[in-house]
Assembly symmetry: C2
Homo-oligomer: 230 residues x 2
DNA sequence: CTCTCGTTACTTGCATACAATATTAAACGA
DNA sequence: TCGTTTAATATTGTATGCAAGTAACGAGAG
């Protein structure tokens, strides 16, 4: 195992740095992401750059204009709202089905994960909690017993990941999150689909709130309101 | 996402024929899709073949086993059930939000689309109805006013497309579908999110039924049942 | 006969070169 | 001056070659 070799694919790491720069505002909205220029900057060929651009586009951070190149899209407040709303609805969906379909073993595993996280909330580090948090939510996806739900949820999670990356949770947030998890676990174990749905929506809503707080600190210009009702 | 490619990309057409062969059972489940062999068969280079395999995998018709190649996955009854269930839930989701958020103009457009389809159901061809049907459902996606919902719905629609392809609807099915559309439109116009949700779930359920009927005619071996409850 | 180690073959990511197509610009004529 | 046609440029798709890493296979040792 030569650690020298890139465990992470070249295209992926390029995509990651591009995402970070876009989110930090270093790469302005509307900028053209030229394949050849990026290839020169990163000192690689066009092939991994193409893959990276595919990823960035799939995350919604840029769009391909046919024969005009890839341009980074504007990160608006509305965009972030959409993201969290969609994640919330998908998680709610998975939670509802999980409440109905999880086996006893799966419920036990979920409860075990939650108990582990309760310990981590008190004494563990933020990164350990975050890792466990991912497993917790993935258990709920899997509990829906529908591979397409799992896929959609994972896709949304990936879309949110660049935003989550900068969000270093403090202890207060972790404890709050853990309390919400308790409600989710109880609803699922009690087979109460409606309650699980509501609890997960609420959970994602509060996650969005804290995320937006941190976000507006670094990029105050991102703020707007739209009226969604007709 | 290639928004509008007039010329069909090589990789896409290769993917389409591969999908068709897989769905017809000409390519058995478990077969290895070798890049170089396919490149030779289609008389192209490995590059478009790679893109084609990416597409086939993204549709769920095959999976990549690391360092073992791409193998076509088994099309089970459970897989199809998952697909339609997920599509139904996503459409229900979009319908619920559309009922709440659509502008008056959007509601009018939806109604207009439905009226056009009612005419087509009586006198138009099946392919014309199918095209209008796609626009109808896309209008509901867009009415949710959330770009991520739209993306997920479109992704699911793409996943279902290889199955839909072989399904040539007869007049009875079209009329039934149109009646269901009437309920959907009414619920959305009346701003009744719950009703829209239910109507769309029902609509997709009946679509799944007719699809499965046709499917079992061509591939009778595909049938199974699983118990989903715990 | 079984286990281990080394070799081979295959998958796969990356680089580079080439070709085709669309957009833009420019030149030209009316 | 305006419209049309043609040339330049950029984006994008494709072809091949190569290198690196992993899995499968087989030979030799115990």
């Amino acid at each position: 195992m030569t650690s020298d070799t890139p465990r992470r694919l070249l295209g992926h790491s390029i995509a990651a740095t591009l995402e970070e720069r876009i989110l930090l505002g270093e790469i302005a909205a509307g900028s053209k992401l030229d394949e050849t220029s990026l290839a020169r900057d990163f000192d690689v060929s066009r092939t991994p750059v193409r893959e990276a651009l595919q990823i960035v586009v799939s995350r919604g951070l840029a769009v391909r204009m046919p024969y005009k190149g890839v341009v980074v899209s504007d990160i608006t407040r509305d965009r972030i709202d959409d993201l969290f709303e969609a994640m919330g609805e998908i998680e709610a969906l998975c939670g509802r089905f999980s409440a109905q379909r999880m086996s006893m073993e799966e419920r036990a595993v979920l409860l075990g994960l939650h108990e582990t996280m309760s310990d981590l909330a008190l004494q563990g580090g933020a990164e350990a909690y975050e890792a466990a948090n991912t497993r917790f939510h993935q258990a709920i996806y899997a509990g829906s017993h529908n591979s397409d739900f799992v896929e959609m949820a994972e896709a949304m999670r990936l879309k949110l990941s660049p935003f989550r990356r900068s969000q270093l949770a403090d202890r207060a947030r972790i404890e709050h999150s853990n309390a919400e998890h308790a409600q989710i676990v109880e609803a699922i174990i009690e087979r109460d689909g409606q309650a699980a749905e509501k609890a997960l929506r609420r959970h994602l809503l509060s996650a969005a709130q804290t995320m937006l707080e941190k976000w507006t600190q670094t990029r105050p210009e991102v703020s707007s309101t739209r009226s969604r009702a007709s």
